[in-house]
């Protein structure tokens, strides 16, 4: 799969302060999450990719276009939903989205058609002739999303898309992002400090802290890898079961008399556990794969970043 975003030693400096330091990775997922605590550099990275800030050293590429020299091409391929309140209060939603689509290069009639479509798509169809200044916060977020997708970009950049949304509005936003992802027509870059949002929508995640890249993960691969971790609860028998499992090549740790955690070797078949249990007259009451949540990944990344010299 061709890379959507490649970071090549990217360094951004404001004055004497390094905001982004030596970012280096290649992201090719349909939905890429940018995670990190406040001030980690997520928005700065987005703004640099869009050409608002110039890199101090290194570079980055979006769909192969260099951010130093091909900003215009990158912007033509991108739709951007900023974090802060951005709109023109005196305009109706349909005029606003139409103007933004025209600025992206669409002819006037096509822009009007797609403005209507985008507003219907995000759920503002009935309110599209209302002035943006009269919209609620949730509606403004949706209008921002509409202007970001009206011109049919190849990459949609969403900066904190669920900020300030109530639970139903948040669910709606997450659903829209997933729907767009599943069309396979667009790549999505989501910056958020809400792990749940990223976990529910993203395939890849880049975790930043203090401008540094502390972890880059393909969530699907991480989830597959986590299938080697097992939690087991048994009834009957004795510690001999744990020893027998260890002899089969598993790492095993007892957490209580009848509970254990184990790491299975690559080629290990689960039926071996049932066979051993049967031989020792032990009942397996619960067997679950311990799935690392994004929170685990995030916390591990933060811990390793703290331990960094």
């Amino acid at each position: 799969m061709p890379a959507v975003i490649e970071l090549d030693g990217l360094n951004v400096r404001f004055g004497r302060r390094d905001i982004l330091k030596e970012l280096r990775c290649s992201m090719s997922g349909r939905t890429i999450g940018l995670l990190g605590p406040n001030g980690a550099g997520k928005s700065t990275l987005i703004n640099t990719l869009l050409g608002f800030y110039r890199p101090f050293a290194g570079t980055a590429r979006v769909f192969g276009h260099d951010i130093r020299t091909e900003t215009r091409q990158i912007r033509a391929l991108t739709g951007y939903m900023p974090e802060s309140d951005c709109f023109i209060a005196s305009m109706t939603a349909v005029n606003f989205v139409r103007m933004m689509a025209e600025l992206s290069g669409l002819p006037s009639e096509a822009a009007l058609e797609r403005a209507h479509e985008a507003l219907f798509y995000v759920g503002l169809g009935e309110a599209r002739y209302r002035r943006l200044g009269t919209y609620s916060l949730g509606m403004k977020q949706l209008a921002k999303l509409a202007q970001a997708i009206a011109h049919g970009p190849k990459l949609v950049v969403l900066d904190e898309p669920t900020n300030g949304l109530d639970p139903p509005a948040r669910q709606r936003m997450i659903r829209l992002i997933r729907e767009m992802r599943d069309t396979n027509e667009v790549s999505i870059l989501i910056s958020s400090h809400l792990l749940r949002d990223v976990e529910e929508t993203c395939e890849e995640v880049l975790i930043l802290k203090e401008g540094r890249q502390v972890h880059y993960a393909n969530l699907e691969e991480e989830r597959r890898a986590n299938r080697r971790f097992l939690e087991l609860e048994t009834v009957g028998g004795d510690n001999g079961f744990a020893d027998a499992v260890t002899e089969l090549g598993c790492e095993c740790a007892l957490t209580s008399a009848h509970r254990m955690k184990m790491v299975l070797p690559e080629s290990f078949a689960i039926r071996e556990l049932y066979r051993l249990a049967g031989e020792r007259n032990i009942q397996i009451r619960r067997l679950s794969y311990r799935r690392d949540s994004l929170e685990d990944i995030f916390l591990k990344a933060m811990e390793s970043a703290n331990g960094r010299p």
């Binding site: 404001f14 703004n47 991108t78 951005c86 005196s90 600025l103 992206s104 479509e117």
Partner: protein, 287 residues
């Protein structure tokens, strides 16, 4: 993303040429501007004087009308006539700039809308040119365009010999109005970019002219010099206009035309620098 299908689809149709995109901002701003009845009424009023001048030019050559007064002509159509015309229209242009100018950039800044414009294949320069085109169009429509129409009317009435002899006047009308339009437009955009509140921006715009004029008088009186005029924009424009129409007496009374040109160019460069600093998607906080 069809309305009925409600699904996302990318766009693969034709695109407009990149050079033409600045006109989109101008087009939308015009739609918005002329929603105001007050502005529309004022804009119509700006044409009263040119229409009156056109009627006067016609009557000036109407023998049956002149015979009532037993004269060959009521007034001479020369540099003074066009300089006076420009002076009157400049006043209307100044008021129009004070009404329209503050509302050009400040609402976009107040609403944080600049990232939305600039995240597209649309540069900061195109944004400024698009906004400036609004004032350029409006001011052109009430200054050099009617001025040149009056010149053509007089030329058609007086004959080709008059037109050839006074070709410099047409040049003066165009250049004088163009420099005035440029200064007014850049100044109002710069102030609009730095002052988010529309009313305050309007007041600051008027202040630059009136306060500048007052300060110039104070500097001249205290330091016994004429260099104070260099910060009086109204005076600079009058001096340039006078030099274009060959009125050396006005020029000699104040500052040289060359100094006025240089001061105006410096003012324009300063305004461009102010715009460069402020018209950005995000301000960089260096700490």
């Amino acid at each position: 993303m069809a309305v009925h299908k409600r699904s996302y689809r990318s766009y693969a149709g034709a695109l407009t040429p990149a050079w033409s995109r600045f006109t989109i901002i101008t087009r939308y701003a015009f739609k918005n501007l002329f929603r105001s009845k007050m502005l529309t009424a004022y804009f119509v009023c700006c044409f009263f004087y040119p229409v009156g001048c056109a009627a006067a030019l016609y009557l000036n050559h109407n023998l049956s009308f002149l015979s009532i007064f037993k004269v060959h002509e009521i007034f001479a159509v020369d540099a003074d006539f066009f300089l006076h015309f420009l002076g009157v229209q400049s006043f209307f242009a100044f008021i129009l700039m004070a009404i329209v100018g503050p509302g050009l950039v400040s609402p976009d800044l107040a609403n944080n809308a600049l990232p939305l414009y600039l995240c597209r294949p649309f540069s900061r320069a195109e944004y400024v040119v698009g906004k400036m085109a609004i004032l350029v169009w409006l001011l052109s429509l009430i200054t050099w365009i009617p001025g040149l129409i009056l010149f053509l009317i007089e030329a058609s009435l007086s004959g080709a010999a008059w037109a050839w002899a006074n070709l410099g006047l047409a040049w003066g009308i165009f250049i004088g109005s163009a420099i005035e339009t440029l200064v007014f437009s850049l100044l109002s955009l710069a102030i609009s970019a730095w002052i988010k509140r529309k009313l305050a921006a309007g007041a600051a715009l008027l202040g630059v002219f009136f306060f500048g004029s007052g300060l110039a008088q104070v500097i001249n009186a205290v330091l016994e010099t004429k260099n104070g005029y260099l910060i009086d924009l109204g005076n600079l424009l009058t001096t340039v206009d006078a030099s274009l129409f060959g009125h050396t007496d006005v020029v000699n009374a104040r500052i040289s035309a060359g100094s006025a040109w240089i001061a105006l160019i410096a003012a324009c460069v300063f305004c461009v620098a102010l715009l460069e600093r402020k018209v950005r998607a995000y301000e960089i906080v260096v700490g």
